[in-house]
Amino acid sequence: MTSYVLDTLAALEAESIHILREAAAQARSPVLLYSIGKDSSVLLHLARKAFAPAPLPFPLLHVDTTWKFREMISFRDRTAKELDLRLLVHTSARGVAEGIHPVEHGAQHYTRVMKTEALKEALDLHRFDVAIGGARRDEEMSRAKERVFSVRDRHHQWDPRRQRPELWNLWSARAGEGESVRVFPLSSWTELDVWLYILVEKIPVVPLYFAAPRPVVERGGTLLMLDDDRLGLLPGEAPETRMVRFRTLGCWPLTGAVESTAASVEEVVLELVGAHRSERQGRLIDHDESGSMELKKREGYF
């Protein structure tokens, strides 16, 4: 006897598929922003479901800052190859030429050039009008008001006052001349939903999400993993091996690890059920100024 009721994950899955199909159907030239993290893994998984039996109707775009964890890059290339995806990788030529360093030049400047500017460059280069990303509303306070379909002006900037009311599921991926739209199919998902879905659907994610002994150094209360020798140790700092994992993955010198013994998806879920802290607390770039995430969004940061 069928009850004709969808459980939470099935309802979220259906909503996300609906959003992905709307974005693709309405866009002239859509792209999926692929950041290699768990949300991107879920987004990619949902996109493949949304368009089966057809192939993905859009390419993936990864903005490579050259400071991503090596494990992330190998996971990205393996995924693209196994799933036969069109993957575009873009790096800021200016950032490389100027040798912009996340610590030496400050997180803010680094993020602007290597992430925000690079993303805008790539979107302009390929003339994408709709960019689909994996951001969730529960990640951070200013994202609670982010639209599922979010309008950006010709400079890719976000103005809270210019956002459209969202009525029912009548989203529009169309915008005015020169404007573009960011689409967030995972808006209604929580971090726990994402992990439960990864568990149920057996979705591959970067192994850095699971606890393992890793070389770390403690700096300003944050555990930084030393992915190569570009960071440079401060006086008094000594690398040590600790059992850590990551709740969120970004550029390695800017992403704090958490001490944990959760070494599998099941254990991560159990750990999360007891967690209260915001997952972005490991992101140093959010802490440099009041309302910093909102500022970055206004500038065009994904």
Partner: protein, 573 residues
């Protein structure tokens, strides 16, 4: 998970602009879960100018919690919120009477608020209203029950939210699958991808494609995790059809015996959202489901004052204003009434240039009487403007609609009013029910459908008189509120003045010279309003005349005063 989930401070603010202004300016979404249910809170600020935010949040919700301050009672704002929630089809309302600790958990205070709200809510369409006394400050009755209100037998708020049955709100009867796109497999096969808006679809079902009305059979349903034998709302699926019928984005699949409406004429309640007001005749873009069409507002029936819930004349709608409109589309689009099918009856109007949202709309069930066959081809319009006629006749055309029981004084007042207006230099004409029954309505009987037709014909003639610049005075029992609404729609709300001749049944019978009541009671006249069939008095007429108590001249005086106050008899130059 064990902490108090309803930390209201978490629900406010977010953006820097708001922090600077000290107010919340937009809808924010918060998430929390209990072991029993997952919640998404759409936090909509309640300032007067933000009706659009309320509507936006309500469009995504199953239930609305209205906080009422126990010390202040049902505020204007609460009424507005309840109305908007009801307008957007929210079926469950919780009236949380907060700050009960500040009134000593006085049961009388709670009951008074309950009574006040219930009286108001009788005019709304949210069937399920629950009342809860609580204190957000002390937490009593929020998550746990306390001992302060032993007279309250119900559950605390959270338990109520966890257990309200919302699944049955879904429509599993009418299959509607709006097609988002057509997917082509590597083998060349085609599948229609979309989210089931309502109903259930099974492999082997016969389906009709709208608007082409081609019929086919479902050969395959692909769900998110593979093939399915059946699928239901709100699942996202891809459906394959036999013999590759032509299907595209914007089409709707349904069962052949149960099709949505397909027309270019749509009646809808609009919540206007854009800073630039509604303009009749201006080209907009309309979206319902996955369909898109050009659209114009061909008529604005009336506006609604969101505080009093009264209908008000409206020539346009500005931001945060609500009104009923007739839309004309450039192509026929499948749709259903919003009350029956949220996904198929929800629409938005967009600016065709930059796609910003201008209005949210809810499709209304159209009265069959209004949808009779219409002639093809455009309607020619007069070369004489209403303003010219007003200047010529020194009056603004209006329809005075006198409703009331038989022998309540309608005809006497109508003819007396006509005499008075003409004596004053105006041009007026009476449409008397009895006379119409001998003329254009002589083919009609007294059953409900025929009564509706009689009302409509009177209204159509009144409109023609008004279009010619004349004051029309209609004297017609018109016992049903729905029929009078139709009349109002036909005439146009701005020109419609409803006058209730409110004499008691006993008073009417007492002065019944023609003995119609005696004959009605003997069963000689069929259904007779007030005796053997209902008479629904108007809730909020423009004027109520106690004709059992006042004389004819006084009654006429009062009608004239209403017309003078409206400015109909001395139009602005």
């Amino acid at each position: 998970m064990s902490g108090l989930p309803l930390d209201f401070s978490l629900l406010v603010d977010g953006l820097k602009a708001e922090r600077e202004q000290g107010i919340t300016i937009d809808v924010a979404y918060r998430y929390f879960g209990t072991p029993r249910r997952k919640f998404i809170i759409a936090d909509a600020p309640g300032h007067e100018q933000y009706t659009r935010n309320m509507a936006t949040a309500a469009s995504a919700c199953d239930l609305a919690v209205l906080l009422v301050d126990a010390r202040l009672g049902v505020a204007r704002q609460t009424r507005r919120h309840a109305f908007i929630a009801s307008l957007l089809g929210i079926r469950h309302l919780v009236v949380a009477v907060n700050k009960m600790d500040l009134v000593g958990w006085d049961r009388d205070v709670f009951e008074r608020i309950r009574e006040e709200f219930t009286g108001f809510a009788a005019r709304l369409e949210s069937p399920d209203v629950t009342f809860l006394p609580l204190s957000a400050l002390t937490g009593e009755n929020v998550v746990r029950k306390g001992g302060s209100a032993p007279w309250y037998q119900g559950p605390p708020l959270l338990e109520h939210l966890e257990t309200v049955h919302v699944a049955s709100d879904r429509n599993l009867v009418d299959l509607r699958l709006p097609v988002q796109s057509v997917l082509r497999g590597p083998d060349g096969s085609r599948a229609s991808a979309g989210t089931i808006a309502s109903g259930i679809v099974r492999v082997g079902d016969e389906v009709t494609v709208l608007p082409s009305l081609l019929t086919s059979r479902v050969t395959r349903i692909l769900g998110p995790s593979g093939d399915l034998a059946e699928a239901f709302a709100p699942m996202a699926v891809a459906v394959s059809l036999e013999d590759e019928v032509d299907v595209g984005r914007g089409d709707v699949l349904s069962h052949p015996g149960n099709l949505p409406s397909l027309s270019r004429d749509v009646e809808a309640m609009l919540v206007w959202m854009d800073g630039r007001p509604l303009e009749r005749g201006r080209p907009y873009q309309l979206r319902i489901g996955t369909s898109t069409s050009g659209a114009t507002v061909s008529a604005l029936r009336y506006g609604i004052d969101v505080t009093t819930l009264r209908r008000v004349p409206a020539d346009s709608l500005g931001p945060n204003e609500i009104g009923r409109a007739a839309l004309t589309l450039t192509r026929a689009v499948p749709h259903d009434p919003y009350a029956r099918n949220r996904s198929m009856g929800a629409l938005v109007l967009e600016d065709p240039a930059d796609h910003r949202i201008l209005a949210a709309g809810m499709v209304l069930a159209t009265q069959p009487a209004l949808r009779e066959t219409r002639p093809a081809g455009p309607r020619r319009s007069s070369l004489v403007s209403p303003a010219e006629r007003e200047r010529l006749l020194g009056q603004r055309p209006v329809t005075v609609w006198l409703t009331g029981l038989a022998a309540s004084g309608k005809s006497s007042i109508a003819f007396g009013l006509e005499r008075r207006l003409v004596d004053g230099g105006h041009t007026a004409s009476v449409l008397d029910g009895t006379a119409l029954r001998h003329g254009i309505s002589q083919d009609l009987g007294f059953g409900p459908d025929d009564r509706t037709s009689a009302v409509l014909r009177a209204a159509e003639v009144a409109r023609i008189l008004n279009d010619a610049g004349l004051v029309a005075i209609v004297a017609l029992v018109s016992p049903l509120a729905a029929d009078r609404q139709l009349a109002r729609d036909v005439v146009g709300a701005a020109r419609f003045v409803e006058v209730h001749c409110a004499a008691s049944l006993a008073a009417c019978e007492a002065r019944d010279a023609d003995e119609v009541y005696a004959r009605a009671r003997r069963g000689e006249l069929g259904p007779f309003p007030g005796v053997t069939s209902p008479y629904e008095p108007p809730d909020s007429p423009d004027l109520r005349l106690p004709t059992g108590e006042i004389g004819l001249e006084e009654a006429i005086d009062r009608v004239v005063r209403v017309l003078e106050r409206r400015g109909d008899l001395s139009p602005a130059r």
